[in-house]
Amino acid sequence: MKYVGKSIDRVDGVKKVTGDLKYVDDLKLSKMLYAAVKRSPHAHALIKNIDVSKALELEGVKAIKTGKDVPQRAGLYLEDKYFMAVDRARYIGEAVAVVAAITQEIAFEAVKLIEVEYEVIPAVTNALDALKADAPLIHPQLEEYYHASIFHPVPGTNISNHYKLRKGNIEKGFEEADFVYEYNFYVPHVQHVPIENHSAIAQMDRDGSLTVWASCQSPYAVRQALSVAFNIPLNKLRVLSPAVGGGFGSKAGTTLEGVIIPLAMELRGHPIKLTFSREDEFVNAFVRQGLHSKFKTGVNKNGKIIAIKNQYVWDGGAFNEYGVNISKAAGFAAVGPYDVEHIWADSYCVYTNHPVGGPYRGFGMSEIHYGIEQNMDIIADKLGIDPVEFRRINAQKEGGRTATDSYITNCGFLECIDNAADAIDFNKVETPSGKYKLRGKGFAGGMKAPSMPTNVASSAIVRLNEDGTVYLMSSAQDIGQGSDTVLIQMAAETLSINPDKFTIKTGDTDHTPYEWQTVASRITYCAGNAVVKACEDAKGQLLDLASIKLGFHKDDLMLEDGYVKAKFYPEKKVAIGDLALGLTMPDGSGVHGPIIGRGSFIPPNTMNFDLETGLGVNPVAFWTYGAQGVDIELDTDTGEIKVLRVSSSFDVGQVVNPILLEGQLEGAIVQSLGTALFEELMLKDGKPVNNSFVDYKIPTADDMPEMIIIPVENPEKTGPYGARGVAEPAMIPTAPAIANAIYSMTGVRIATMPLTPERVKKALKENKETGRTYFGVDSDYEFHIK
């Protein structure tokens, strides 16, 4: 291939290195007004009264809106979300009122003058407490909420979704097992921390048409949600996403857009801008859900896992419109990348009075694998089997079955395991750098599918210009992952036109064609397929015209370097640009007109699962498998960990752009390393206590390990040029691998993230004093739901 598989420079590079690219907060529009939000100081409270009179008197204030102005609920999978609290605030930081003013300063001042009368009611700030029979209900009207049919909310409880997986015969499995082990793990809330905070601008004209500029991953999903919530027809609602400064899931769906639209509806013709501060970003954009996980594993003495029974309890926060799907995704992947005959899994998404949980790179997989991959290591150790070998024994392989009992026809997991282990010489003992130091290695695998509904669609349009250049149009958003470049490479390959002749346009629902969402590591695959189809469509038209022009049958024509050429007489050719507007005949008449290729795509053959058993023949488009090894050093006196090297091998199907692929895998490693070592959004009785960069630390350049990336290319049959998604899967194994490395050095197992110096030191100290080796979660739990 000429362009697919090559490290071409990113097409948005110059705009980004010069600072020329305008992100939403960089936009300055005439007559613009600035918004600020009044937020709930209570985790759970009834709103008795909101008095905005003093705030309205402040000079420069143009309008104030409260939840009563947007009473319609919205949501992607479960319509449980209010853009502003209507009569109940469900988390600290929830919007209760919004001001528009002529300057940002005045808007902030006005917010202080809004008086809200609350009746504080008992809050639920732990997902396990939320499941108790006497727990206060956060959504008493859950029964009335519309939801997609594949989800199962339990009215009268705080459960927004209960996914069940019942494969084989779990009791029989445990009976047959030689050993049965039980372990619990806990992963706290973390935040995505894109460097760009959320920003949106909304403007409604007098004719009722609404334009929204948003730093969002999914303009079409935002358009749909806002259309429902505000009862605006889709053709009157334009969503633009000019640039996105990092998303990682936090900018999927809608967050702040709906807060400013009531203002825009009143203040016609004024663009209203709302930009989150970093403090807002930590609390009022999505956060990653917390997870309590529990595993009971039956295994044979030869190392084969027979049965796993597990429970996942997701701390979904105040609204679970998006989070319910994370609990389902976790169910599909209940036991990770291993082939287990008997599985019984329950995955509960639970309401709490915490910030809103939502999609975060990995979509639940990082959280469950923190448990799955440590559980694997513990059992390998108990059985005296090498942890890498134990994974090989149990790995999903071609011919095996996934957790949902689908046949596995395409799986490079074993190769990934071997690559990752070899790249860091997994069994070689390394020398620590000093006398207080230990050095050790850890290993973990992981899997992920694009966690999207079975019927979500993509489309693309390709337009040829008369000089041989090309417009490619898509609404796949380049949020940094490089989709603009990758889609151009695939288009260039299909049309055999040099990538530098392409311009890609995205992110405008009035002009760029439908794309469900830029999430789920699905863009290379889904949007890529749509782009290839659009280019094939254009190619068909070109061949038809060239066939007339050159006098060859179209089967004997090919595209090459900007020309249509006769396969066996390559000197017989016509420039693609000469056909772009149609063919001109010798008598001056024209044929066909401009060439516009269109491509539409829906993943083939993905179908719903059985609601009772959770099983399905083909519930996901594909699985991406991979493995990582880590080499770390630990200061036993301080508990400080330095990650020295990480190897990462994923089966990507086909590398489209090596340098961009490496960028995805490296970025994922360091992001996962951050969650492993220091990231946690600390919530005390529902109150965030570290929602700034002063106390929520993400990795710096100094924390970066040496990273070794080894792609496996085992083509995805339904993927464009064989490619499958990898940006999220790459984040999964690093954190458990680090925990496993600590165990391998110290014999101490820490079941709670993050592995802060303090937590590690405490465990080491206690281990020394009492011999304790397993440091489980603080509150073990037992619960039962019918």
């Binding site: 290195v17 690219l21 305008k22 460097i195 400064g245 970066m704």
Partner: protein, 157 residues
């Protein structure tokens, strides 16, 4: 309280009136439309607002604009001459050292200041010099490489 200040902004002499409570960042972005410097935190922790003042990188969110009197300010917009990019900008593109691009202007300005002061830094020097610039996308490996490529070029000259 308004103050009339004179300074050099991207090689151009400027006289401008600012309020006491405006940061350099807000003046660059709002009054001069130099939006390459970004506000990522407003507290000097993320480095997205990094610009050079008298050749030194600073967080423009932590500096009051009134203090810029008599000084020379260089933002990312002033780094390239027309469409001729700086070596660092080229190296960032060629080495895949950017993804979403939001940290990129600040990152490049920190790197520029480092190379001005020390044209042949070690990898450790580079990491230390950019540790005040957070990037959530790249994992930093390619950023460090992009800077080292320019440094190695300096080394061979």
């Amino acid at each position: 309280m308004k103050h009339k200040i004179s300074f050099i902004l991207n090689n151009e002499k400027i006289t401008h009136e600012v309020e006491s409570n405006k940061t350099l960042l807000s003046v660059l972005r709002e009054d001069f439309d130099f939006t390459g410097a970004k506000e990522g935190c407003g507290m000097g922790e993320c480095g997205a607002c990094t610009v050079l003042v008298n050749g030194q990188p600073i967080n423009s969110c932590m500096m009051l604009a009134v203090d810029i009197e008599g000084k020379e300010v260089l933002t990312i917009e002033g780094l390239s001459r027309g469409d001729v990019l700086d070596d660092l900008q080229i190296s960032f593109i060629e080495n895949g050292a950017l993804q979403c691009g939001y940290c990129t202007p600040g990152m490049i300005m920190s790197a520029k200041a480092l190379l001005n002061e020390n044209p042949t830094p070690t990898e450790e020097d580079v990491k230390h010099a950019i540790s005040g610039n957070l990037c959530r996308c790249t994992g930093y490996q390619k950023i460090v490489k992009a800077i080292m490529v320019v440094a190695d070029k300096n080394n061979n000259q």
